[in-house]
């Protein structure tokens, strides 16, 4: 109770007592598997396992592709969220549901769908080939797969933030003569900054963990398409110690990224 009062600093509404037990169970449910994994780590060999050539290549590739796909998500997702939150046109509800499809689609199915779109024999495959672009088995394919699965996270968080913020300030800015782009840059984006940031973090995290669509669509080659999750899956078969060590590495990277952005978000 005291903790609640202190943290809100206002008249404490407090969390209902009954909520603590399920909250604790939920917390354990998430933490316990991580602890269980940590107990399986071969700590003596941990350093050499996570610094092996293949592990370093996989980590580097994962960070690069996840950063690239987060950038792609921002470039495509911010305009999408704006359109979905602010525009009224027939079919907007349907469109909003369709944008969420990659969230519920098993990633392997997503990979198959991407294959049918960008693959050599896919919908756009021939056009791309004529243009001299070959997506198959390239790092670009990994970024495409990650962007496909991560985009809904950015769009949902940002759209939610936009709706919560409302359009009042934007209307005021516009009435004072600001052009739409200026309103977006000076009013809208600063207003929804936390939502945008958490959407970007979620997208990055989802891209970092992407596995199914990547292995189906992009293949698996060290330094080119074999990201950390693919490396873990491959090692699991032959060297479980390495797989566990790499899994822990992935968890640590994810936690560091999330913590760093949370901290960056604080002062705002």
């Amino acid at each position: 109770m005291r903790a609640t009062t202190r943290s809100t600093g206002e008249a404490a509404v407090g969390v209902p007592r009954w909520a603590f037990a399920p909250a604790a169970v939920g917390g354990l449910f998430v933490l316990l598997p991580l602890v269980a994994m940590a107990t399986r780590v071969d700590w003596a060999g941990f350093g050499s396992l996570v610094t092996s050539e293949s592990a370093r290549a996989a980590l580097l590739l994962s960070l690069q592709t996840s950063a690239a796909s987060t950038a792609a998500c921002l470039a495509l997702g911010v305009p999408m969220a704006l359109a979905l939150a602010r525009c009224r046109f027939p079919g907007v509800e349907l469109l909003r549901s369709l944008v969420m499809v990659p969230l519920v689609l098993p990633p392997v199915v997503g990979g198959v769908a991407l294959l049918y779109t960008f693959g050599r024999r896919g919908l756009l495959g021939e056009t791309l080939e004529v243009a001299g672009l070959q997506v198959a088995f390239s790092t670009a394919a990994v970024v495409l797969a990650q962007t496909f699965v991560a985009l809904p996270f950015l769009v949902t968080s940002l759209e939610g933030a936009l709706r919560t913020a409302g359009a009042r300030y934007e209307a005021v800015a516009a009435s004072l003569g600001a052009r739409p782009t200026t309103v977006l840059r000076r009013v809208t984006l600063p207003l929804v900054w936390p939502g945008l940031l958490s959407g970007a973090v979620l997208s990055f995290a989802r891209a970092l963990g992407e596995f199914g669509a990547t292995i189906t669509f992009a293949g698996s080659l060290q330094g080119v398409t074999r990201t950390l999750p693919l490396e873990i899956y491959l090692q699991r078969e032959t060297d479980p110690d390495a797989a566990v060590a790499l899994s822990l590495l992935l968890v640590v990277v994810a936690v560091v990224v999330i913590a760093a952005t949370r901290r960056g978000r604080g002062p705002l």
């Binding site: 693959g119 292995i215 293949g219 698996s220 060290q222 074999r226 090692q235 078969e237 032959t238």
Partner: protein, 267 residues
């Protein structure tokens, strides 16, 4: 007649008691028979088999069930090393059929299986999309940089076999992707993403007309031997032995040959 009254009444009592007892017994045995019947119907033989044996072992399981009414064969299909790990963790199984001798030897060393017998061999073949767009005719063609080749990763058995074959032929293969499993390799070939994939003869046979197979003589450098053994603490040791016998029988050989498997080298 009247003198018989009490006796007859007593008899009736006895009779009633007997009827009740019989009814009760009938009810009991009725349940008992039913229970025994369902237990017999549910006699389950669990067979762990390597993923590459999926279709052939489904066929063999049906044959076994036809010859053993009341026996239900459950197939546990996964990669050999995954199955090995499951058996080491105490997964209940009666028979284990592996795609390589190494996993079986490890289980023998752990005393988890009985004496293994080799029942089939498998070799590599080049799988190409229908029509063979890249015109792959030989193993040497795979080293051509214009041919996008997909193999298994060297750490998985099919990839190790590909590496052995390439070594034997003195070739430097540069695959565009090193997949986790044969299924993933085939997937890339059937989708037309890759021009060629190195998989097993049986995989090409199982894929039907979705791929074409190109045989090459260098495949003799990597012959995969499939061993089978009853699991040491099987629930159904008798049935387990009979299943192993079926796989090793002429009928079993014929069935396996139908799916592209070759007989074991020498047994």
């Amino acid at each position: 007649m009247t003198g018989h009254g009490p006796r007859s009444r007593a008899r009736t009592h006895v009779a009633a008691g007997a009827v009740a007892a019989t009814l009760a017994a009938a009810a009991l045995t009725g349940c008992g028979v039913g229970a025994a019947g369902s237990v017999q119907g549910a006699t389950t033989l669990t067979v762990f088999a390597a993923a590459s044996l999926t279709v052939s072992f489904e066929d063999l399981a049906e044959q076994f069930e036809a010859a053993h009414p009341g026996v239900d064969v459950q197939l546990g299909l996964a990669g050999s090393s995954a199955l090995m790990a499951q058996l080491q963790q105490g997964a209940p199984a009666d028979v284990f059929a592996s795609a390589d001798t190494a996993t079986m030897d490890a289980l023998v060393a752990d005393d988890l299986v009985g004496e293994p017998r080799d029942f089939a061999t498998n070799t590599l073949q080049v799988a190409v999309p229908p029509g063979n767009p890249a015109g792959v005719e030989t193993l040497q063609d795979l080293a051509d940089t214009d041919v996008s080749l997909v193999t298994c990763a060297p750490t998985v058995p099919c990839g190790a076999a590909a590496a052995r074959v390439a070594d034997a032929a003195g070739l430097d293969l540069r695959p565009v992707s090193e997949e986790q499993s044969v299924t993933d390799v085939l997937g890339k070939v059937t989708a037309g993403e890759a021009d060629a994939g190195l998989v097993y003869v049986t995989d090409v046979a199982a894929a039907g007309d979705r791929v074409e197979g190109v045989a090459f003589p260098e495949s003799a450098a990597a012959v995969n031997t499939y061993p089978i053994a009853p699991v040491a603490d099987a629930d159904q040791p008798g049935l387990a032995r009979e299943f192993v016998d079926l796989v090793l029988s002429d009928d079993g050989r014929r069935t396996l040959a139908g799916y592209g498997f070759a007989p074991p080298s020498a047994s």
